[in-house]
């Protein structure tokens, strides 16, 4: 009996959603365990960071003051991020790529070391783990070095790289949750708006960055989470079935989402803060999918040979860093409405000329900043109550799903933040104000339905 399609649809969405979920879960756990330990000391000694430059929140201020202060904080933060992104674009434009790469290595090292270290220390303190300082230091050092190595050089198993990406996201998100409450919420909304503008508006820095990178046919100088499928589960393992599914509906091609984040560190007083930016690139990758899908059937025979080549080339390049499939994306605009078969025929020739170049890795890529801010939202929801955590988690996951679907419909760079964060914030406030009295009141009276 042939396997049903139900086995394999939606695989790449899950490939992105599971690390996001994992990251959120770990951040919630960390927030719970660390906030129990010092409920008073953290609020009494607020740290002055980049996000707190203008206004330092005090629990005893009035609402209007808090709101105003939070707005100012968020504004300053977004402006700083915008400036840094523009600097990054300039550097990239003038080909200071080496400098950028080294800077990113250094910043990753620093973040993993210091921020990860302090979280590590507070965990040890909280759980009273008997461990001496030399061991601790050695462990931390090893962890940091392996992290930097895995993220920025090839030849490492992809699982390790994914794990380090997730842990980096966790560390940064945990630090962000130390911000005061109003500031956090206003900051999240401001960043979502900024993301929307920066990616979609014509002068947006992220859009410029993406276009520069794609015109040079290079990888982006950024920290990106790649959800490559690590193991082929069954024979006809299609990589981008979502796109093909949508193709079944709307006669367009399958897609590959790349959401990229740039992480920069700014020194600010005693703190280091990471300010990520995001973008998402859309790349056509239709023929891969078709080819693999029909490997067994051999129905479209010109495709079979072609797909075999592609499959082997992909397995060679599975460890390479990402390269965007740019030549396809240029022609994709014209081919958008053409039937699938023609596209395949054309791609056959293109494939031959691109035999030697590195093939782009398939699977969805999501920027690390998205991880961070989703986790920040959920972590902040966790500080209130567990019910809000679930509500926000569901909202964010559905926002991510919507973004992915939207991506496969309109073939452009898309910001991954706005939809999810809007939904998350709405659900948080709705749950907190409306649902909680309802549910708790009913449950304590043992009314359940």
């Amino acid at each position: 009996m042939e396997s049903s399609i139900l086995e394999s649809i939606g695989q790449e969405i899950i490939g992105v959603m599971s690390p996001v979920s994992l990251c959120m879960l770990l951040v919630v756990l960390l927030v719970y365990s660390l906030s129990d330990s010092n409920p008073f000391s953290s609020s009494s000694a607020p740290i002055r960071t980049a996000a707190n430059l203008v206004y330092l929140e005090n629990p005893s201020d009035t609402t209007a003051q808090k709101l105003e202060g939070a707005l100012l904080n968020a504004l300053v933060f977004v402006i700083l991020i915008a400036i840094v992104t523009f600097v990054l674009v300039l550097l990239y434009y003038y080909n200071f790529t080496n400098f950028l790469k080294n800077y990113m290595r250094f910043s990753a090292f620093f973040v993993l070391g210091t921020m990860g270290g302090s979280i590590f220390l507070s965990i040890i303190q909280h759980f009273s783990i008997p461990i001496d300082s030399i061991t601790c230091f050695l462990l931390l050092f090893n962890y940091t070095i392996v992290g930097v190595l895995s993220m920025f050089s090839g030849g490492m198993p992809i699982v390790l790289r994914q794990g380090y990406m997730v842990s980096l996201g966790i560390i940064v998100a945990t630090w962000f949750t130390k911000l005061p409450e109003w500031t956090t919420w206003v900051l999240l909304v401001a960043l979502a708006l900024y993301d929307l503008v920066a990616v979609l508006a014509p002068g947006g820095p992220l859009k410029l960055l993406v276009e520069l990178a794609s015109s040079r046919d290079e990888e982006l100088p950024a920290l990106v989470y790649e959800a490559r499928p690590t193991v082929a589960r069954n024979e006809g393992n299609p990589r981008s079935t979502l796109g093909l599914l949508v193709a079944g509906v709307s006669d367009s091609g399958s897609v590959e989402l790349q959401a990229v984040s740039n992480n920069n560190i700014r020194r600010d007083g005693a703190e280091n803060r990471r300010s990520p930016e995001y973008t998402a690139i859309q790349v056509r990758n239709l023929e891969n999918v078709e080819g693999e899908r029909n490997r067994d059937e051999g129905e479209r025979s010109p495709l079979v040979g072609h797909s075999r080549e592609r499959y082997s080339s992909d397995s060679n390049s599975s460890e390479y860093s990402t390269v965007i499939h740019n030549r396809e994306s240029e022609t994709s605009v014209d081919e958008e409405m053409s039937p699938l078969v023609d596209l395949l025929g054309m791609d056959n020739e293109r494939e031959h000329e691109r035999r030697d170049s590195v093939v782009a890795s398939r699977g969805i890529k999501l920027g690390l900043g998205d991880f961070v801010f989703y986790s920040v939202l959920v972590g902040r929801a966790a500080m209130y109550d567990l019910m809000t955590v679930y509500a926000c988690y569901l909202a964010i996951i559905s926002g991510l799903g919507c973004t992915l679907i939207l991506l496969s419909v309109c073939h452009r760079a898309l910001p991954a933040l706005p939809i999810s964060i809007t939904l998350g914030v709405i659900f948080y406030f709705l749950t907190r104000l409306l649902m909680e009295p309802f549910v708790v009141g009913m449950a304590t009276n043992l009314m359940m339905f």
Partner: protein, 220 residues
């Protein structure tokens, strides 16, 4: 412990059936979301009337009745969306010349949907209230002073998970075949389960240990 009581069967169902097929995970998440949205809408509607006077029972009855009616309406809506989805999936299957959706597939989708509803219920009514349970003491509700509150909610959640999960399957089957009996069976079961909670209110009238009596009814 309490969490496992409430969620044990659903967890095993999840691991056995759903985690293998990513599409089912997506179905689960979306049905959970739908349940959450229905809950939010209901709480929005009822917010004006809270906190209810907890000595009389009929406001609660109305509350439950409207909530259940709303949710059953949503189930119907879910079914309509599912029909459309089925068409898309079938077209897709034809395109890649794989066989169309089998009956087991359809049932699995229905199962995943129902499980999503059930898990959402368990999470929101039971798990989110469990954080106080980590502490040293436990909590008893006035109405039912024999069993700790957490255990009660866990058992009820378990019952409802089962109810939701299988009612979705039955409902889909009923709608598909136009079988009236099946179609009416589901809402009535839901209603009956909901109305059982009214038993708790009668405890102060009859002065019987009614919650320990009602619990076995629930589990059945």
């Amino acid at each position: 412990g309490y969490a496992l009581v409430a969620l044990g069967p659903s967890l095993s169902l999840f691991i056995a059936v759903i985690s293998k097929k990513p599409f089912l995970i997506l179905t689960l998440l979306s049905s959970t979301l739908v349940w959450l949205i229905s809950l939010i809408i209901l709480s929005g509607i009822w917010r004006a009337f809270l906190p209810l006077n907890s000595t009389t029972w009929w406001p609660f009855a109305i509350l439950i009745f409207t909530s259940i009616a709303f949710q059953e309406g949503l189930r119907l809506l879910f079914w309509k969306v599912y029909k459309r989805l089925e068409d898309i999936l079938d077209a897709f299957a034809d395109k890649v010349s794989k066989p169309r959706l089998y009956l087991t597939d359809k049932m699995q989708i229905a199962l995943a949907g129902g499980l999503g509803h059930g898990v959402a219920h368990a999470v929101f009514f039971c798990l989110s209230l469990l954080t106080p349970a980590f502490g040293p003491a436990t909590y008893f509700v006035d109405r039912c002073s024999q069993i700790p509150f957490f255990l009660v909610s866990a058992i009820i959640a378990l019952a409802f998970v089962t109810v939701h999960t299988f009612s979705m399957v039955i409902a889909f089957n009923g709608y598909a075949e136009g079988n009236k009996v099946d179609q009416l069976f589901v809402p009535s079961v839901h209603l009956a389960a909901g109305m059982m909670v009214i038993f708790y209110f009668c405890s102060h009238v009859y002065a019987t240990p009614s919650c320990s009596v009602s619990e076995p009814y629930y589990v059945q």
